[in-house]
Symmetry: C2
Subunit: 408 residues, 2 copies
C-alpha cells in the first residue's frame, strides 16, 4: 500500500473502451489500498487534429503561441473528464483537475513552459476522501492565469512532478511499448527491453531522442528520487524501472544506443573573438527556449572564431530569428546552415570504468562506411554526428558492435 501516480499516454486513452481499460487499472490499484493519482494525455490523435485545425485557420501565418496553448490544453481536458466518468461508471469515486485547478504553476514560456510549483494540498484533500484524482498532463497555468503547455512529452513532466510533490512510491508510465529498449525496435529488430536503468543513463538516452521519456521528466525524477516504471498499458508485464544508480550497474559498459534523426547544424563564422561572446550567443538562444547541443568553437587566424552547434529541425524557424539578431549585434558574424544530419550515440554508466568504448564505436561506423562529422562525449555517452540518411544503419551497427541484443 502506498501512493501511486499512473500516467496514460494518448494511445492508451484513444477511445471509450481504452479509457475504461485504463480506468480499471487505476481502480484495481485503489482497491488494493493504494492512493492513486492518474495523469492523462489527449486521446489518440487529438493534439494533431487540433494542430491541423489551427493550421486551417492560420494558413502560413504562424499562430500566436499563447493561443496555440489555449487550444491544445483542451485535448487533455476532454480526457480527464471522460476518465472521471469512466471511473464513476465503474463505481469508483474520482475527480478530474486541469493543470490550473491543481495549481500547477509554470513560467510563461508558451508551448514549452517549465513547472514551478504544484498545490499538493488540493490533491491530498481529494485522495484522503478516497477518491482517485485525475490530472490533465502537459498543461499548467502562469501566476497570471494564462494557460501554458509543457512542450513535447509534457505529460511525463506532469507525471513526475506530481509524483515528486506527493512523495509517490512509484510513477507508472503506461505506454504502448513494454519499456525502454536498448535501441528503437523499429530500427533495430533485435533491440532488447532493459529491466533497470539509472536516471543518468535514461537522461542521456532521453536527451538523444529515445521518445518514451523526456529529459525533463527524468531530471525531476532524479532530483526527487522518484522511481519511474515504464510499462505497457495492454499487458501486466514488468516494464523498465528507472531508478537511482547502484554499484553493479557499472558492470554493463553500454546500456543503450539512440538516434536523433533530424538535426540542423548552424555555423557562425567570423565571430569576434572577445570574452563573453559565447555567453552572449548562447544566452540569447536559451532565452528563446531552444535546446542546443554539440557546440564546437575554433579560433581562426583573423582573430575571429567559428562557432557551430546543432538544433532539432523543429526549432529551425525559431533559431533563424535568434541568429538574425546575433549577426546584427556582432558584425562581421555570418551564419550558414547545414540540414539533414543525424546523431548516433551509445550510453552507459559502465564507460566510467571501462576503456575502449569510443574506439569500438568509431571502428564499427568506419567498417560500415559511415563518415563521422563531429564527435562529442560525456562521462557516460559518446555521440557522432553523421549524414541523416545513414542514421538507421549507424544505429544498427553500433547496437551490434556492443552486442546490446543479448542480456548480460
Amino acid at each position: 500500500m502506498g501512493l501511486i501516480v499512473q500516467k496514460f499516454g494518448g494511445t492508451s486513452v484513444a477511445d471509450a473502451e481504452k479509457i475504461h481499460k485504463a480506468a480499471r487499472r487505476a481502480v484495481a490499484a485503489r482497491q488494493k489500498g493504494n492512493q492513486v493519482v492518474v495523469v492523462v494525455s489527449a486521446m489518440g490523435d487529438t493534439t494533431d487534429d487540433l494542430i491541423a485545425m489551427a493550421k486551417s485557420v492560420c494558413g502560413d501565418c504562424p499562430p500566436p503561441k499563447r493561443e496555440m496553448d489555449q487550444l491544445l490544453v483542451t485535448g487533455e481536458q476532454v480526457t480527464i473528464a471522460l476518465m472521471a466518468m469512466a471511473m464513476h461508471a465503474q463505481g469508483q469515486q474520482a475527480i478530474s483537475f486541469t493543470g490550473g485547478q491543481i495549481g500547477l504553476v509554470t513560467d510563461n514560456s508558451f508551448s514549452k513552459a517549465r513547472i514551478q510549483s504544484i498545490n499538493k494540498q488540493r490533491l491530498f484533500d481529494q485522495l484522503n476522501q478516497g477518491k482517485i484524482v485525475i490530472v490533465a498532463g502537459f498543461q499548467g497555468v502562469t501566476p497570471d492565469g494564462e494557460v501554458t503547455t509543457l512542450g513535447r512529452g509534457g505529460s511525463n513532466a506532469t507525471l513526475v512532478a506530481v509524483g515528486a510533490v506527493l512523495g509517490a512510491d512509484v510513477c507508472e508510465n503506461y505506454t504502448d511499448v513494454d519499456g525502454i529498449y536498448t535501441a528503437d525496435p523499429r530500427i533495430v529488430p533485435n533491440a532488447r527491453k532493459i529491466d533497470r536503468i539509472s536516471y543518468d543513463e535514461m537522461l542521456e538516452l532521453a536527451g538523444l531522442g529515445a521518445s518514451v521519456l523526456q529529459t525533463r521528466a527524468v531530471e525531476f525524477a532524479k532530483k526527487y528520487n522518484v522511481p519511474i516504471h515504464v510499462r505497457n498499458s495492454q499487458n501486466d508485464n514488468e516494464g523498465t524501472w528507472i531508478v537511482a544508480e547502484t554499484p553493479n550497474m557499472e558492470h554493463i559498459v553500454v546500456s543503450g544506443a539512440a538516434l536523433k534523426k533530424d538535426l540542423t547544424r548552424i555555423t557562425l563564422k567570423h565571430v569576434p573573438d572577445q570574452p563573453g561572446v559565447a555567453a552572449r550567443i548562447f544566452g540569447q538562444i536559451a532565452a528563446a527556449n531552444i535546446v542546443v547541443d554539440d557546440i564546437i568553437q575554433n579560433v581562426m587566424d583573423d582573430q575571429t572564431a567559428n562557432v557551430s552547434f546543432t538544433v532539432e529541425h523543429g526549432d529551425l524557424e525559431d533559431i533563424r530569428q535568434v541568429v538574425k539578431g546575433i549577426i546584427h549585434d556582432l558584425p562581421p558574424t555570418e551564419a550558414t546552415y547545414q540540414g539533414n544530419l543525424a546523431k548516433v550515440s551509445v550510453v552507459g554508466v559502465g564507460m566510467r570504468i571501462h576503456t575502449g568504448v569510443a574506439g569500438k564505436m568509431f571502428k564499427a561506423l568506419s567498417e560500415a562506411k559511415i563518415n563521422i562529422q563531429n564527435i562529442t562525449t560525456s562521462e557516460i555517452k559518446i555521440s557522432c554526428i553523421i549524414d541523416r540518411e545513414q542514421g538507421a544503419k549507424a544505429l544498427q551497427v553500433v547496437h551490434e558492435a556492443f552486442d546490446l541484443g543479448t542480456k548480460k
Copy 2:
C-alpha cells in the same frame, strides 16, 4: 464609435472559413473605431459530439455534472483560440479568454450555473491596448476554481453579462436567422421578422420556447438596459432590436406567438392543506434548479389539495427525484405524471390596454377543434396547455387569428 459585444453561435463558427467570416465582421467593427468584444459558442456540432463521447463512456450511468461541465467547456475554448488566430492572420491584435480567465464567477450549480460577477478590468486592460477580446461563452468558474457551464443558451447569457458590465452600446447576437419572428417560421410559413420588441415581450417569448434568446439573457439585458440586436451572420440586414419599452409599442396588441413543444404535467394529489406546504414543495424544486410553470392548486373536500405544474420533458428525471422526496416528506401525497403536452401562447404589451385578446385566442383554438386543458395568463401573455400533437396547428391558427403575418 462605441463599445460593441458580438456573439457568434455554433453555426456561425462551424469551420475555419466561417470563423474567418465572423472574425472579419469583428475586425470591421474595430476598424471603424469601436472597441469590440466577441463571445463565441462551440463550433457546429461540437457540444453534441462531446455529449456523445460522454455517453459512450458512461452508458446508462448518468455522468457526474461536474465532469460533464469540465468536458463541455472545451468546446468554446477551442473556438476562442481559433478565433484569435483568425484575427491575427487578418492582421488584427486579439486575445482569447476562457470564462475563468475573465473572472466570470458563477454559483456551483453545475450544468446550469448562474453568473455572479465578471472582472471587467481584465477586459478593459486589453480593449484599451486596441485588441479585440474574445471570450468563451457558456462557461464560468466558481470561487473555488471549479469549471461550470451556464445551461441552455449560456453563450447568450455571457454576451449580455459582458455587455452589461462593460456598459456596451449594443450586444449583437449573430445567428443563422434574420431576427426574432412572430412565430417559429418552420411551423408558421408566413411568420414575419419583428423589427423592434420590448424586453418584457422578449422575456415572455423566450420563456415560452422561442429559441434564439433565453430568458436569462433578456432579464440581464433589461436590468442593465443593454440593447440586443439579433442578426443573421450571413448578411448585413438589420435584425430585431430588443430594447426598453416605448409608448407606441402598445399599439400592437399581440407581437408574437410561441409554442413549447414537449411538456409533462405533474399532479400531486392529497397534499396536506397546511400553510407553507406549497412553499416547501416549490422550494425543493427550485433548489434542484428545475424551472416550473403553470402551477394550479385546488383544495379538495378531504382537506387536502391537488397541486399541478408543468416542466419541460428534459427535466423529467430530475423532477422525479425531487417529487419522490416530497411524497416521502408529506404523506399522504401521491404523484401522477401526464406527458405529451404542449403550450401555445400569444404575447404583446398591447394587451394591457386592449381587451378581447383571450376570447379571440380561445375562439380560434376552438374552431380548429383544439381542446384547451389549462389556461394561464400574465399581464402581457396568454398561454393554453394542449395536446402535444396539436401544437403546430394551434400555433398556426393563433398566428392567423391575430394576423401576425402582416406588418402593422
